[in-house]
Amino acid sequence: MPGIGFKQIKMKKIMLLMATLSIVHYSCTKEKTDYEAEKEREITEITDFKEVFTVQSGAYSIRAEALNGTLFTGYNTIRLKVTDTESKQPITQAELSWIPKQKLADGQLTSGPHNLSFSFVQEEGNDSGYYAGYLVFLRPSIPEQPWEIHMELKVNGKRILLSQQVEVQTQRNSNLGMVEFIGKDEKSYLIALVAPQKPEVGENQLIAGIFQRVDALHYVSVEGYRLELDPRMPEPSMGNHSSPNNQDLLPGDDGWYEGRVNYTMTGNWTLNFILRDPDGTLIKGSEVPKDFTPGVQGVKSELHIDILF
């Protein structure tokens, strides 16, 4: 019976078509966000120390290393390696001190916070090591106003002076940013973020250096202060959203201030600070209101650093 046969074929064709359609239809979907790539998007973490410069004077040379071999405004971890140029042996028993200087347009010299003494750190695995130090540059270098690092090396009873001009670039990673301000006590302060270089969603240990300017060439790390923390997302679409369970920065080991910052998501955050001296007196900063204000740019503290990750 031809009628039924035709119907059968037609039906089979329809079913096949439907099955194919379902498969074809399904294959085009929206891509899932690659979260790992998302985290890398803004900041690529740098972990390698590379040479910035090597300077030699007589029998000794000093090699300075920084992350990626570049110096930036804000905090920089530096490793100094002292070598005996004749024997090519590293020197481990030296006394080092240094100071960075920049000549400003009006002829004045300016400096920045730096470590006042060096201790030798033995590197694991091999015989070498380095002298651990840090430099905080307030301004980038420009051809007319270069930065110069002056070093004094005392070894085997000898005193050697070395200096080197360096280039200082503007730091692009806001997580290593800094802020300068005059406190209510009329003193000049500087807060530089040290860590994390690349924050994660969730808990992060926040480390900062708090320095007081004694004069153009001298900065000291303050003691016993408290840096209250209130991280917010000031974007109008985020309404000054905050995160829970943050910890104010308190003095930790080695003079750095340590606290905890929780980031609920990636994006633009503002670290709102209130700086208090050991007596609890307000030095700088203002309270950020607790209301949720979507649609308006978020209110910031008088003392804050904007970060992005």
Binding site: S22, H25, T29, K32, G202, E235, M238, T264, P294, G295
Partner: protein, 681 residues
């Protein structure tokens, strides 16, 4: 011998998966009320020699219909059960509440397959992925009797798909339905076709629905309530031998441009693929009668769209994905007066939901977080359900299950913000036990029973992150440290049935420990633009829930039938506060007149005012309402095939109303004229 075997098998479902009691109801068309023993009688005399699908019970009427409307959606069909109420966020995809408890407390499966939605806001409940023309029936088990399918508190809803038996006399069968609803301009076209010979069966279906915005009672248009939906399915079965068969199924569902007036955003696209391969074997001899195993894979995706909401200042992308792999294997055994079903359930689910927020200045960076941080759920469970025929008149059903559940959140750092020490992985043991005794004395049926079970917190309750809930306008945060919810239940029912009249009463009471609900977290700061605060899921020490329902029917004249039902529920926490989403006293009463080819139905349905609402959980008072509905149908033959046409009106008096379950007090549909035509091959 084979006849006896087949009759056993046919009898089985009515006493095991359906367990003739008022607790577990298999909803069939014949009426909302049925006599529990009738199925058994029908099939004991069945002497068919064909291999049957175990879950095809009444081959006569298997369409999903309510009494009023023919071609209803799956939601409308579920709504006809007294134990199911709905939370409605729009005209589409309602969230079914069994025993007045949310979907986290129930197990919803399709043919035993576990499926999980891909939306954190529950915009895509499992019922939204199927259509009325690919379902044969819906099996609802209340309380711990639902533990056959997995750990639950409220019970289980199993959507059973159509499966044509082998060797039908009429090889080709099909049906086309088309209809139109005036209120929202909804047009729908459903078609299904099946082919059956001795060795091979093919079932195919297609459905298309499209609707614009609907109008509430005062002719107010409810904006953003449109939807478009397409559904198709294909099933192929092959009889390997006289006693065994293989079947593969695939279902594809797509919804696009769906509005949710109660939410701050709509749906751009939602797709689901449900596929399975199953093997069924019957046995001639021995205690083991049937063994049925199915391997399945489901993939859901869900993409929100807020671009059509100009009042929204913040643009967000919120895609979600949910994939499940699983195995369900069942065995039916009969020995003397005892029949049992053992079920093994294994599944693995991955749920991912993202939130990307766009800054107002688009040159700035977008902000990213996970709402479901790649949560893997693994479940393995074994369930046992037994029916022991103590005598002609009494039966004892008992059973239990033991399950193991494991959650693993890949990006636990999000949850660590609120719960710093929360473990990334957590395993749980989920036991369940239930027992029911049924007695039939002439026209009177009595049953009573108890149950105990535990359920694991859901992905949202344990690992959710800043999920905006537009009902109470809070951002919800999950708590990985939640303990299992433990439920103790008692249920009882009483019924009286004669051929012309009947009345049934059923009640259940749940005592739940560690009841999971959201409470304000003072440390939290809102993230979503419209949010007023943050709530975290916590556990209440105790909560109590009580459900009572009554239904009755009476044949006024030979062709005139009256039916009515009333249901009432109450729930409180340990502080004496009311719990949210508990249906106030609701009633329904109707008349049905049939004469030759005509049928006429009229019924009234309504709720009393919601007195016991819970302000502490964001609810407000809902006033009483009453809706009148009318429909007429005519069956006729056309070119040797059956056809039926229906015309009717819902909400005849165009009442403006909104119920306790309407998210954001969005009003429901006003007067709606509907018509549909069904043509069967």
């Amino acid at each position: 011998m084979k006849e006896r075997l087949l009759s056993y098998i046919s009898f089985l479902p009515s006493c095991i998966s359906i367990s003739p009691s008022y607790i577990s109801i298999l909803l069939m068309v014949a009426g909302l009320f049925w006599s529990p023993w009738s199925h058994a009688k029908v099939f004991e005399t069945d002497t068919s020699k064909r291999m049957d699908e175990v879950n095809i019970l009444s081959q006569a009427k298997k369409k999903i219909e309510t009494d009023l409307k023919m071609a209803v959606t799956v939601d409308e069909f579920l709504a006809s059960s007294q134990q199911i109420s709905f939370i409605k966020r729009g005209a589409y995809a309602w969230e079914p509440l069994l025993n007045n408890m949310s979907t986290e407390r129930s197990v919803i499966t399709i043919d035993g397959m576990h499926i999980f939605g891909a939306c954190t806001d529950k915009m895509d409940p499992v019922t939204s992925y199927v259509e009325s023309n690919n379902l044969a029936s819906i099996d609802i088990s209340s309380g711990q009797q639902g533990s056959m399918h997995g750990a639950t508190v409220a019970g289980s809803i199993d959507l059973r798909r159509k499966a044509t038996p082998f060797g039908q006399e009429k090889k080709w069968n099909g049906q086309i339905q088309s209809g139109f609803e005036a209120n929202n301009g909804q047009q729908f076209h459903l078609g299904n076709l099946s082919y059956s010979n001795e060795r091979f069966v093919a079932d195919a279906s297609m459905a298309f629905r499209q609707a614009g915005n609907y109008q509430a009672g005062n002719r107010d248009e409810v904006l953003h309530s449109q939807f478009t939906k397409f559904n198709s399915s294909l099933g192929l079965a092959y009889k390997i031998s006289e006693l065994s068969s293989l079947r593969v199924d695939a279902l594809f569902d797509q919804a696009q441009d769906v509005g949710y007036p109660a939410l701050p955003m709509d749906l751009w696209l939602s797709r689901g693929l449900i596929s399975s391969a199953s093997y069924k074997r019957l046995f001639d001899q021995g205690i083991l009668k049937v063994w049925d195993s199915k391997l399945y894979f489901n993939a859901m995706e869900h993409y929100m769209d807020d671009t059509k909401r100009p009042e929204n200042l913040v643009h967000m992308d919120m895609p979600g994905w949910s994939n499940t792999w699983g195995l369900v294997s069942k065995a039916h055994l009969i020995k003397g007066q005892l029949s049992s079903e053992i079920q093994l359930n294994l599944y693995q689910n991955l749920s991912i939901a993202e939130m990307t927020m766009y800054p107002q200045d688009r040159s700035n960076r977008t902000m990213f977080a996970y709402s479901w941080p790649w949560v893997h759920t693994q479940y393995a469970g074994i369930s046992l359900s037994n029916a022991w025929l103590l005598s002609e008149r009494s039966q004892f059903n008992f059973g239990g299950s033991l399950g193991w559940n494991r959650h693993h959140a890949k990006y636990i750092e999000f949850n660590h913000i609120f719960y710093p020490e929360a473990p990334q992985t957590r395993s749980r043991i989920l036991p369940a036990l239930h027992a029911t005794y049924m007695l039939k004395l002439g026209p009177i049926q009595v049953s009573t029973g108890a149950g105990y079970g535990q359920r694991s917190p859901s992905v949202s309750e344990a690992y959710g992150y800043y999920m905006y809930n537009s009902f109470d306008r809070y951002d919800y945060v999950g708590n990985p440290n939640l303990d299992n919810e433990t439920s103790y239940e008692l249920h009882a029912s009483l019924g009286y049935d004669t051929p012309t009249k009947g009345i049934h009463l059923q009640a259940n009471h749940f005592w739940i420990q560690d009841y999971i609900i959201g409470k304000i977290l003072s440390m939290g700061s809102p993230m979503n633009y419209q949010s007023v605060g943050v709530k975290g899921y916590t556990a209440l020490k105790r909560a109590r829930l009580f459900n009572l329902s009554m239904n009755a029917h009476y044949d006024v004249l030979t062709h005139l039938h009256w039916s009515g039902k009333i249901s009432y529920a109450r729930a409180m926490d340990d502080q004496g506060n009311n719990l949210p989403f508990i249906r106030p006293l609701s009633y329904e009463t109707g008349l049905h007149w049939m004469h030759r080819k005509f049928g006429l139905r009229a019924y009234v349905q309504g709720d009393l005012a919601q007195e016991n609402y819970s302000p502490s959980y964001g609810e407000d008072y809902s006033p009483a309402y009453q809706i009148w509905n009318l429909s007429v149908e005519y069956s006729f033959n056309w070119q040797k095939s059956r056809a039926k046409i229906q015309l009717g009106v819902e909400n005849l008096f165009d009442q403006y109303y909104s119920t306790y379950a309407d998210w954001g007090n969005i009003p429901r549909m006003g007067r709606n004229l509907f018509t549909s035509l069904t043509y069967s091959l």
